[in-house]
């Protein structure tokens, strides 16, 4: 409560707070801002009828922010132009982007905190081993991990030719592939969690190594507290402040990274259901950014709204992290 008051009285805390709340508000109010056709089963994207041009359609009374076109090849080889409503995708995409950022950041933080806490509390050889593992992970570029999981999921439902009777044989899926597709998990999310928990582990490790020497831990142990109780009741809560700061920054950072991967084409095809709607907008719009005679504003609605949304999302969470840092670690902050 006191913390909340302290947060509210400083005007510097308001811009990040308002930015983040704006996105949460849009996500919650999506059905009001962009009414879906079927309120019971709202989809993340709306296909607008009546546009057949291959170029994105400019904003008009029908679509507030224009459309992006997707040239889809039907099952029978018939081609048709699908026009997605940019405004609709932007609004409903806020939900998936928030979900993506929060799940990824929390996932990475959970793994990191567990690794760091266990290794530093046990100490000795296990500590050395786990921290070397952490360092080894630090040498692994995330983009390789994204492609790795992407390929892994591509092999699900792989088909092989059987030349004896000229038919297809579908390779059975492994437990992992079944699990990922059953939960509809984005492989990019999986890769980002698996390869960006190291910062959390290192911070928690250093903090707990210092904290476990303190007297109150000895006091707790002499009162009969078990290892798990000491770790999660006494050590982690006292070492968690920098983790919260990093977490807030990561929510934005992960989303921006994910968008970059989608943009350069490592995170799967446009058809993939797991890709957040904003990234799909970027993927569909990327060929229309530079228009005729190099004018980047010919098809501005294709990329400027979603880019601005991404930048604001990143900046909002990043600034929130900075302000939480001031609030939680007042000693470390240099003004």
């Amino acid at each position: 409560m006191k913390g909340l008051v302290r947060f509210a009285v400083n005007w510097r805390n308001w811009p990040p707070f308002l930015l983040v709340s704006l996105f949460v508000f849009v996500a919650l109010a999506a059905p009001l801002l962009a009414p879906p056709e079927d309120p019971n089963h709202p989809s993340d994207a709306r296909i607008v009828e009546g546009y057949t041009d291959p170029a994105p359609a400019p904003p008009d009374e029908n679509v507030v922010l224009g459309t992006v076109a997707y040239y889809s090849l039907g099952a029978l080889g018939d081609a048709n132009m699908l026009h997605f409503d940019v405004f609709y995708s932007l609004v409903w995409g806020t939900r998936s982007i928030l979900r993506f950022g929060l799940i990824t950041a929390f996932g990475a933080a959970t793994i990191g905190v567990l690794m760091g806490a266990v290794s530093s509390y046990v100490g000795g050889a296990l500590d050395a081993l786990l921290m070397r593992v952490t360092d080894a992970f630090l040498a692994f570029p995330v983009i390789a991990g994204v492609w790795l999981f992407q390929t892994l999921m591509q092999t699900a439902g792989m088909r092989l030719t059987d030349y004896t009777n000229f038919s297809w044989v579908t390779v059975p899926e492994t437990w992992f592939q079944r699990w990922v597709s059953a939960w509809d998990i984005d492989p990019v999310m999986l890769a980002l969690i698996a390869f960006s928990w190291m910062a959390y582990a290192r911070i928690i490790n250093v903090n707990i190594s210092v904290l476990k020497q303190t007297e109150y831990v000895a006091a707790a142990r002499s009162l009969g507290a078990g290892n798990l109780r000491i770790i999660f009741r006494h050590l982690v809560p006292n070492a968690i402040a920098p983790i919260i700061v990093l977490l807030a920054r990561d929510v934005g950072g992960m989303v921006v990274q994910q968008a970059a991967f989608a943009f350069i084409g490592v995170s799967g095809t446009v058809n993939s259901t797991a890709i957040p709607e904003w990234s799909r907008l970027l993927m569909l719009g990327r060929n229309w950014v530079i228009g005729q005679w190099g004018n980047p504003f010919v098809h501005w609605w294709v990329y400027i709204p979603v880019t601005l949304a991404l930048i604001l999302f990143g900046v909002g969470w990043n600034m929130l992290g900075d302000r939480l840092n001031v609030l939680l670690n007042p000693r470390e902050v240099v003004k």
Partner: protein
């Protein structure tokens, strides 16, 4: 002597890291069906057409149903022999394909590191020293903007303005006429880095042309990392300047410049250098993203090719694994160099007193 021991320890760590990461990569790939892993041993002619008979033969011949350690060792031995598999989507051997594309990636990485580390350290120290003055506020504003704009968007905007609009900085590696000179037999390729080779062949025009092509990608890549590094340096500089030994030094009559230069600077550089060593992998990730956007034919071509070839029936496991391993091979030397610089600045690390 202790410095040599430090170097040996770092090299040993690199080796252990490689073993660990290859083991992890193969472990992750074990999550794919065994038929998919057979692609790692696909014969070179049979591109993309995985027939069931062929795959079954490979599985039996290579023992892909064996327990994990056996399979991993067999794969690792193949890697050491230089057999990284055959990529169906590139129709090419993976390792030679990677090696051929290395100079492009190396050149981009090299120039970015040479640009952003000195500039980041310098501007961080400057801003920290001039705290709450005009220079400091200016730096913080620019750094804030630089970290806010995602590099892939910045790259695109720069392309629109300077390539398509003004024709100042083209994409790719070289102009077409110069590319023909470089590919001709008279031009000796020594390092593969076009800027260096141009000088070695006494063709200054080629060096200048290569540099001109590098301006936009290097700038885009460096900007974010410069801002992050500058911020860390600034914070640690301020922390150092607030310490009592600085006050004491000044109390003894030493000039402000001398105090900063002799005492605070080297202490303040350490956290900054450490943070850039830790973010070496994210720099390499950034390199790959930038390569795709500026159409540089570097290592990232592996996934831009196989992404285009989305209709290939067989997922390209060899290329994926090769790319991941090669990416690590790119990060490790970078981390090593930054660690050595740290050790040169800080005797505690050099003497092994600090982990």
């Amino acid at each position: 002597m202790k410095f040599i021991r430090f170097l040996l320890r770092r090299l040993l760590f690199m080796l252990v890291t490689l073993v660990f990461i290859t083991a992890m990569l193969y472990g992750i790939m074990m999550l794919a069906p065994v038929e998919a892993r057979a692609i790692l041993y696909m014969p070179r002619s049979d591109y993309g057409q995985g027939s069931q008979q062929l795959i079954q033969e490979i599985i039996e011949e290579k023992g892909l149903d064996d327990p994990y350690p056996v399979q991993y060792v067999r794969w690792a031995v193949n890697l050491l022999r230089g057999d990284w598999g055959w990529s169906p989507s590139m129709r090419d051997d993976v390792l030679p394909a990677l090696i051929r594309r290395t100079p492009v990636t190396a050149e981009l990485t090299l120039y970015s590191v040479l640009l952003y580390i000195p500039l980041g350290l310098a501007s961080g120290v400057w801003a920290g020293w001039k705290r709450r003055r005009f220079a400091d506020y200016g730096f913080r504003l620019v750094a804030f903007i630089a970290t806010s704009i995602p590099p892939f968007i910045l790259g695109l905007v720069l392309l629109a303005i300077f390539y398509v609009g003004l024709h100042w900085f083209p994409i790719g590696r070289l102009a077409m006429s110069n590319k023909m000179i470089v590919d001709s037999p008279e031009f000796r390729t020594i390092t593969g880095l076009l800027t260096v080779d141009g000088l070695l062949n006494s063709r200054l025009d080629i060096t200048l042309d290569a540099l001109r092509h590098l301006v936009l990608p290097v700038f885009t890549l460096s900007l974010t990392h410069w801002a992050t590094l500058g911020r860390v340096t600034r914070a640690s500089m301020i922390e150092e300047l607030d310490k009592e030994y600085v006050t004491a030094a000044r109390g003894r009559g030493l000039s402000v410049q001398w105090t900063v230069w002799r005492h605070a600077l080297s202490n303040a550089l350490l956290p900054a250098l450490n943070s850039s060593a830790l973010s070496a992998a994210s720099l390499i990730t950034g390199v790959f993203v930038i390569e795709v956007i500026f159409a540089l034919p570097g290592i990232s071509e592996l996934f831009s090719i196989s992404a285009v070839d989305a209709f290939s029936l067989v997922p390209d496991i060899s290329a994926t694994m090769g790319f991941a391993l090669y990416g690590v091979l790119f990060v490790l030397p970078l981390m090593f160099v930054l660690d050595v610089i740290q050790a040169i600045v800080d005797p505690r690390i050099r003497e092994g007193g600090l982990k």
